[in-house]
Amino acid sequence: MIGGILVRATVLGCVIGILGFGEDNNLVDGVTFPRDAAVVAEKLEELEAGKLIEELEELIERLRGKGYTTFVFERPKIAQAVQEKLEVEVRIESITEAGEVLRGNMGKLAVELGFLEDEAELAGWIHEVSMELTRRRVRRATEKRDLVVVQTIQMIDDSEKTLNLFMNRVREWYGLHFPELNRLVEKHETYARLVSKLGRRENFTPENLMKEGIPEERASRMAEAAVRSVGAELQDVDIEKIRMLCGEILKLYRVKSTLEEYLRELMDEVAPNISALAGATLGARLIALAGGLDNLAKMPASTVQVLGAEKALFRSLKTGSRPPKHGVIFQHSLIHGSKRWLRGKIARLLAGKLAIAARTDSFSGKFIGDRLREDLERRVREIREKYPKPKPKPAVRARRRLARRRK
């Protein structure tokens, strides 16, 4: 304080440097940045994160030398950093008068501080800095998201395995009481839900079952089986434990479906083109097998085609058996839904498209997924029309080829 009066300065950062404004909102001092957009982008990022950069420290020192004791900031994080490190009085105001002056006169102030020769240069400078800043932020925002995809799909697969393990146990356990249910309900989740909701087999009445969404005809078949069951009369405490277990299993099913939804969103962001071609789940498996999106993008189509079939591939290399035609991409409906003799051709085609999709996702982020998908479907139709029947056995052809060579 000078003569008992609080002397306030407003301190603001911008593309030209750190500027200090006095009580009357006129520029009193400023420390300018170097004219290097990459350096400035980095400094602005640090400032944003609440780090004390040298220009800010220097300006505060100089302003203190001029008698200023209280410093006003528009950004809370910066105010906090200054208060902690430099031990001065700070205030936060979201819109300051000085800020209005700065935003309205950035070009003029830049010239006044000797940062620019001419106001007209400001726009070009902002362009340069914003390009650098945005490049950095995009890199940070997309960094490692593909590895989040990898963890998510692996967790989904782990849940699936765990659920299978648990459900096999539950079916055997509850089977002591109502063995016939095992064959009547194929879907694990439905089985768990019915046991959890209904408990003892006496409760498997048509009405109760229909309330659980079982169609009438099936419901009456199940109810009949319950009445005629050859299972043991377990005690209520025994049944309660199984019900509780089923309740927990159902929760895990919900976790799994939440993760699947999350994976779809993630894939739309991380790899929209792969996702459009192969779906989120298969796409994520490919990324996981490759060890990340960038790795997948570097693979030739022939490697993508057999990703996940490594065992078969090594076997073929060692023993000379036939190499695998496809790895996990077999899970694609266009392959497993096609005739056996077409699968190799379609796998090659799909792998080619996936390689393009992976490169696009990894390098440019442009969306060409619907075009790739249409193209894929058209080509698959052509293949199906062209090869309605399996070709002759390779053994026969090999013999023919040998015969030709001998001639």
Binding site: G104, M106, H127, S130, L133, T134, T142, G365
Partner: protein, 232 residues
């Protein structure tokens, strides 16, 4: 018929093109000759290259064709563009304002802005890409100064409020705003008309004088473009 290009009778920086088949299209003068942004057609006329401006892809073009009386975006203007996506409309804004103007492009989807950066801003020195959330306008105060126009197309609930918050920091007095309101993304259950009105009320409460409300059918379903002057 010969292709012919002439200045728009009312709006500087905007052109009308008559094509071989006699149809008329909007266009802007290409600030980055030879470069296409979203697959639009390029036309060279008397040594100058123009980009056709597709009203089915750009709500600003749609509003102009639907009879907007004032287009506040003019040569030399500074524009804050909220929700620039990959730059379909923003690139035409860049053409209109020309080398003397500047457009700050705020977009929060990293993928979209990456495309904007690599395919558009790189070739246009009057465009600055900003990866940021328009709901937090102070987040870009180190880059953006006062502007003449804020163009807002972010398909968010409370767009008008977000726009007002941005105006308080960045819009000059007597500056203009253009707001594209997509009814369905704000509240699917209400009648579109009600929704425009709610947003317009918010604008009025925040010192905007609403000038025009233009429906964008048939180019965009359930959309209006609102223009207003800032008396803040």
């Amino acid at each position: 018929m010969e292709v012919e290009v002439r200045s728009h009778p009312e709006f500087p920086g905007i052109y009308e093109v008559t094509l071989e088949d006699g149809s008329t299209r909007l266009a802007t003068r290409n600030l980055a000759p030879g470069r296409v942004v979203y697959g639009e057609k390029l036309i060279t006329y008397e040594g100058v290259e123009y980009r056709l401006w597709d009203p089915y892809r750009s709500k600003l073009a749609a509003a102009i064709l639907k009879g907007l009386e004032v287009v506040p975006i003019k040569p030399g203007c500074r524009v804050l563009y909220l929700g620039a996506a990959s730059g379909t409309t923003a690139s035409h804004v860049s053409d209109i304002i020309g080398e003397g103007g500047h457009v700050y492009c705020v977009e929060f989807a990293p993928r979209a802005i990456r495309e904007l950066l690599n395919n558009v801003c790189r070739f246009r020195l009057n465009m600055s890409p900003i990866l940021a959330d328009a709901r937090l306008p102070s987040g870009y105060s180190t880059l953006v100064g006062k502007v003449d126009v804020i163009y807002c197309d972010i398909a968010q609930p409370e767009q008008a409020k977000i726009l007002a918050d941005n105006a308080r920091l960045y819009l000059k007095r007597d500056g203009w705003i253009m707001l594209a309101i997509k009814a369905r993304s704000i509240d699917v259950t209400k009648e579109p008309k009600e929704l425009y009105e709610r947003e317009i009320k918010t604008l009025k409460k925040n010192n905007f004088e609403v000038k025009e409300v233009i429906r964008l059918e048939p180019y965009e379903k359930d959309h209006v473009m609102v223009t207003a002057e800032y008396k803040g």
